[in-house]
Amino acid sequence: MKLEPQIVVVLALLFVASGAARAGESAQEDKDLSLIPPPPPTPPVATPVTSGASQKIFLEDAGTESWLEDRLVPAPPPPDARWEERALFDVRKEWHVGDGLRLTYSGRVNLRTADGLGFPNHENLTNDLREAYLSWQPLDRLFFDVGRINVRSGVALGFNPTDFFKTRAVVEPLSVDPVVLREDRLGTLLLRAERVWSRGSLTAAYAPAVSSDSAIYTSFDLRSFDPMLDRTNAHDRWLLKGTIDMAEGLSPELLAYASQGRVAFGANLARNVGKSVVTYIEWSGGRRGTLSGDALAFGRATGSLPAAAASVLPGLGSVGFRNQVAVGASYTTALPKITFNFEFHYNQAGFSGADWDEWFRTGSGASAPSPIPGALWYVREYASDQQELISRRYAFLRMDWVDAFVPKLEVTGFIDADLTDGSTRLQLGADYYLSDRWTIGGLVLVDSGGRHSDFGSLPQAGSVLLKVVRYF
């Protein structure tokens, strides 16, 4: 049989093409194989699994420079520090002390100097006793804890309505990132019992009153080695919370909290949507005053505000059922790996637009030493101390980018926008992991907005922090 010349050509082309395709696949295989890193010259030394599992110890040095501006409503003295230098030694460690017994310690010793603080004095050296408690597991899946414990709840990132033990717990933070604020805070002295089942859990906690309310602290009157139980245990407090698996991936958490004759309820719900999205909602509600009303009551109780302050504070209102909500979603991009959290925050007890108008109208033109701006600013200091939203509505966006631009560089940042007036707080931070032991980093904070706005009226317009960390 003799093939037509055209058929021969076609077959030849097909053969060449298939050979080229095989050569291409083979070349691709070679390329893939060439990307395999060479084996290490010496086998890695196995790390005992318990060596680093129950402790985190680091030494950090951080310097902060802040920019202050004269504002429409002058803040009462003392002015914020323009600079601060802080060296801190931070320890979190657990010890097994017996059958079913575990001891946990978490604390930080700070050596600090700052503009206006002076040196040397007893406030240069402070100790934050975050946690110190004993855990006992008498039965499988039954746990008792007693001591100072950081009890935290909530699925949101920027604002946690159900985090009932957050009030007054944050001491001189180095960052205003909400993720950092919930780590660097004081625990509460309490007794806690927890039972975990295969489809849920139940937790009960009681925090006794062992101290009484104290005035809001400033940077210049911290107590050196006092555990500051007045911040966390000024009143009897109760918490009951439980989770239950209702369906695949659906396990809501319900909470009830009681303190000073008031009961609040809360709920947390989070759900994965696909492989890159998590949605969540967090709610709490209960009878309480407005933010101004609660601040006035606290100020009077601690002798910080005169009775006459009621005449200048906006939005006093009356006690009623009020809600707080955080609803949002996280999204992780495929390439590069960036996780975004976008949230809406609501505090029914916070300032409305009319309250802000009144706040600025009352305070404009007053001099700093007069009692009027002092009372007005007290509400804002109270909100910060309680970690509560001053305004009613905020939008919050946070970003976390691992290996940003170059490997081992983690960039985090958030923007918090007050939806009442459009003012914003922006913080951008970067940590570069030089090695397992060393990290260097920094962050920039900028508050911006109009003169009659939430963030635009803060005395501090911005700050820069540089740090170096050594882990042990």
Binding site: G52, A53, R92, R141, R182, G249, S251, A270, K275, P407
Partner: protein
């Protein structure tokens, strides 16, 4: 779920067919199920996992983890508990994966938050990459053909070339190309693609060794297909069977997990 039940049911048959030299008679799904069995022990177990990150062939960083894995008979998928051991800045952090639920616990804040499977663990390894998973439960497989490819040590291996498509939203990747050695069912190589069809990662398996009653790959090399200078090796060790109570897979158990 349907896939997993089917896969588990045919597994003994698949293995017996393999031993009988009748591998050609198997479906793609049966092959994936059989290679899942090679990768994953059939009883609850714990292992250590060392993740080493390379940049330009040079070791850059490493993490050490302890992993507890247990198969959920209802779904055919593994549930995993992970605790970070190294580096020091991450020590004590924990991750729980149970079906649609993925929780991250940070001992600094004492709180567990939900995370997504896309979130990065270390280097090129997403959480969904390194945890124990049964691919047959999350992917629908088809056979592309039979090929002889070189494994990570450049030894020729006669493989099924499989195409895996995500069959539910638990799958970390939309599409996977998978090469499984005929006869042994050893996983040799994988290519993982994004939803848009972009090649994200190339994975080679190597260092096959006897662990918990079977020969298993004890190392995976994860190569970043976008930036080919980046690679991560995942080395498994210290395998041990361990009873894992159901309550361990509750998020509220995470703070109480004790790694000894």
């Amino acid at each position: 779920m349907k896939y997993s039940q089917h896969s588990l049911a045919i597994l003994p048959l698949a293995l017996s067919l393999c031993l009988g030299g009748l591998a050609h008679a198997q479906t793609a799904q049966e092959i994936v199920a059989a290679t899942d069995k090679v990768r994953n022990p059939g009883q609850p177990f714990r292992t250590t996992l060392r993740l080493t990150e390379y940049v330009g062939g040079q070791e850059r960083d490493h993490d050490s983890l302890v992993v507890f894995s247990k198969e959920d008979p209802a779904t055919g998928q593994f549930r995993n508990l992970v605790q970070y051991v190294e580096p020091a800045r991450d020590a004590g952090k924990r991750v729980l994966l149970d079906g649609h639920s993925l929780w991250f616990y940070d001992p600094d804040s004492r709180v567990s938050v939900r995370i997504s499977a896309q979130q990065r663990l270390i280097g090129q390894a997403a959480i969904g990459d390194i945890l124990t998973v049964n691919l047959a439960a999350d992917y629908a497989a088809s056979v592309v053909g039979t090929e002889t490819i070189e494994d990570a040590t450049r030894q020729p291996r006669k493989c099924w070339h499989l195409e895996l498509k995500a069959s539910n939203d638990l799958a970390t990747y939309n599409r996977v190309e998978y090469w499984v050695e005929q006869g042994s069912f050893y996983p040799i190589k994988g290519k993982f693609y994004s939803d848009s069809g972009r090649l994200l990662k190339i994975v080679y398996f190597r260092n096959f060794a006897q662990q918990l009653g079977a020969v298993r790959a004890t190392e995976a090399i994860i190569i970043d297909a976008v930036d080919s200078s980046l690679a991560t090796t995942a080395t498994l060790g210290e395998y041990a069977y361990q009873e894992i109570p159901e309550a361990w897979f509750q998020r509220d158990y995470l703070p109480h997990l004790q790694v000894k």
